[in-house]
């Protein structure tokens, strides 16, 4: 059997028959599912912005097979994107699996020519964002994310790697220009000026949007963070680490979809993540069917924000003290980790300042820019959605306008608690 033309030329999404033919023709895939090819179950399950995803099950096993088309799915084919992003996703999954294997899906198939990536089908995992909207508490989520972030960011930094190994890794990801461009434009630029791509709840949020567009201090802070994203290769980032890129159960947490991966400032991944947690926290207010009905869940979310940071900082510090094998602050110059405690503390302070800033950017751009989140899209009561959105904007603006380095993570969560406590109708 030969691969069908429909697969060989990935100009249109696979249909089930073509994918079945591809699986049957691939020795690794057919072995994975066993002999009974006729009974494979194949269905398209993708709900992301860029790719198609197929659930394939057979012989008691299942894979999620992702297909990258040469355009953005969200654009309906209008926005050209090379399928190379799938190669970066695979490279990143492999890199992250070396450092945090418990928190990354396993890869079972990769076909660059057909732009197919077959991964472990995670079950009974759900997308974190959906679980949060449903009010599901994940008691190990924060601890797992602190472990994932500290392991991946430290191991791909100059604190762990020789300069040459680091530069070679940076070079491998440096070509992921197309997806970076999406971040640079949709995250850091368009939401802070007039753009046809922007949308917000209008006219209710018109005044807030205009104030943000006219806030020079805020725009400078956003642009300083953008410059850091453009110039700093501190560590390999997932670079799209929102709650839609996490699948989990109460006991297992996996980070998926690192196709935006690029070297950048560590605070970017942490900031994106906590920005999405803050966003969800404010949205919870609108989910309440009785006053205070989601108060305990909000406490869980803000607690998770704090725990992600303290867990990250503690684990990162332990790695710094025990596994500093890289060319930055090298063992040759600093054999005693104790001599570097002040350097470490300042470094973490800088990561925190960056993370709070990136979180602020994320909250604003998800409210005023092109890509909103289901946390808010699902709120049908317009007045309640506006209230939550205004809180998210206020909090984001506060994070960005605060003097750099002047805020702890608990001050950031306390500010969220105060905003919610003072909200109309509370």
């Amino acid at each position: 059997m030969t691969a069908s033309p429909a697969i060989a030329a990935p100009s249109q999404p696979l249909d089930a028959a073509a994918l079945a033919a591809h699986i049957a023709a691939d020795p690794g895939l057919s072995a994975f599912f066993g002999a009974d090819m006729a009974n494979l179950s194949i269905r398209e399950i993708g709900d992301g912005n860029l790719n198609f995803v197929f659930h394939v099950a057979g012989g008691g096993r299942a894979l999620a097979i992702k297909q990258a088309m040469p355009y953005s799915r969200m654009s309906g084919g209008a926005r050209a994107l090379t399928a190379e992003r799938l190669t970066y996703e695979k490279l990143a999954l492999e890199e992250f699996a070396r450092h945090a294997p418990a928190h990354v899906p396993a890869i079972h198939h990769f076909d660059a020519e057909r732009a197919l990536l077959g991964q472990e089908f995670l079950s009974p995992h759900v997308i974190m964002r959906k679980g949060m909207m449903d009010g599901v508490v994940y008691p190990h989520f924060a601890e797992h994310m602190a472990a994932y972030l500290s392991a991946c960011l430290f191991a791909t930094s100059d604190f762990a790697l020789t300069a040459s190994d680091k530069r070679r890794k940076v070079a491998r990801f440096a070509g992921n220009v197309e997806l970076c461009e999406i971040t640079e434009r949709l995250v850091f630029t368009e939401p802070f000026t007039l753009s046809d791509n922007n949308r917000w709840t209008s006219p209710e949020l018109d005044a807030e949007a205009a104030a943000i567009r006219g806030d020079e201090v805020l725009k400078q802070a956003v642009s300083a963070l953008k410059l850091a994203f453009l110039t700093r290769s501190d560590a390999l980032l997932h670079a799209d680490l929102h709650t839609g890129s996490i699948m989990l159960t109460e006991t297992d947490t996996r980070v998926i979809d690192p196709e935006f991966a690029v070297f950048g400032p560590m605070g970017f991944d942490i900031g994106m993540l906590i920005g999405n947690l803050f966003l969800n926290c404010f949205a919870q207010l609108a989910y309440e069917t009785e006053p205070g009905g989601r108060a305990a869940y909000r406490a869980f979310v803000l607690g998770a924000v704090e725990e992600i940071w303290t867990g990250f900082a503690a684990r990162f510090a332990a790695l710094w003290r025990e596994k500093r094998t890289g060319d930055a602050y090298p063992m040759r110059l600093f054999p005693e980790a104790a001599a570097l405690e002040a350097v470490l503390a300042r470094y973490l302070q800088d990561v925190l300042a960056d993370a709070l800033g990136f979180a602020g950017v994320e909250m604003i751009r998800r409210t005023l820019g092109r890509a909103h989140t289901p946390d808010y899209d699902a709120i049908t009561d317009r007045q309640r959605r506006c209230l939550s959105e205004k809180l998210a904007l206020s909090h984001g603006v506060m994070l960005l306008r605060a003097p750099r380095g002047g805020m702890s993570m608990t001050e950031a969560t306390d500010a969220a608690r105060r905003l919610i406590g003072a909200a109309p109708g509370r």
Copy 2:
């Protein structure tokens, strides 16, 4: 005529006959020199650490043809290096020629397979370092270097380039790992610890070397600068911009040999350059045949340091105000340059702080590390050499230990003047 095997396999340096055969076989080169191939004059003139360089003249024209061997020339073949560095040199020369054409040699020939790069033979130019040792004043040098630095660093930064164009350029240079490793080790690491590669005037400088190896504050400052070199892709650097990489006359200044080119912090190029000027300034003391005989020359050198910085800052600011076409602090968010004057001032302050630090690193590593400079090697009077070396070390240490951002360029040059004024025997 076919290329000789000796050329096709660049495992040993070309001889004149083989190079003549290559030139005759290359239509571009033979046209350059005209018909009279028999009368080509070819001689090896390289005095650098890495490559062989041939002066080739004929038909009233001349080229400098550089050949990169798959090892470092300085090591006598012991240290393997791919000849790829010549490709980076060519890419960098082309990039810099777009922004500062008056200050870069023209390329007339490139043969990647044979690792040959033919450039304009600069005449009557001399290597800046030699001219300075001879006490030659170059009245336009500082102005030219300010023009070169501001044009090249601005144009390859995110202030001029779109994020995607910048990332593509970064990706093109990201593979220049081998030469970066030399910088990372010989500049930032070995001179600050014990290494077989280090050498210094011993026992006279033993105490100074030991004090530097034990100075935790200084080593932390050096390592912070190294981390910046490892992680920040602010602009395309020459990355080896000492006075041996500049050829000039009284009216014309050219920057040669950018084979170390890589994206990095702007202050690195500026700091290497002024570090070498400071080094020469302290060496001048030992060149005097009568007390004060080189005082005027030292004043020229320190004046050049100041003028390079003020010239760079003024020209960079003008480019920022008038040609800010990049994705950092984009025109879309900041149509009025006036709104960014404070951002610009802070940015230049950071570049200055970096430059002063990198200058301090350069002065120390050229005195205690592997690669010394002819400015000092030429001083035959051991006592006088030691005195100059101690001044250079003192000044370097002072630059590195000063609170970051607390020093202006004139404070740095004044400190050099005070050190010289207080030197024994003055």
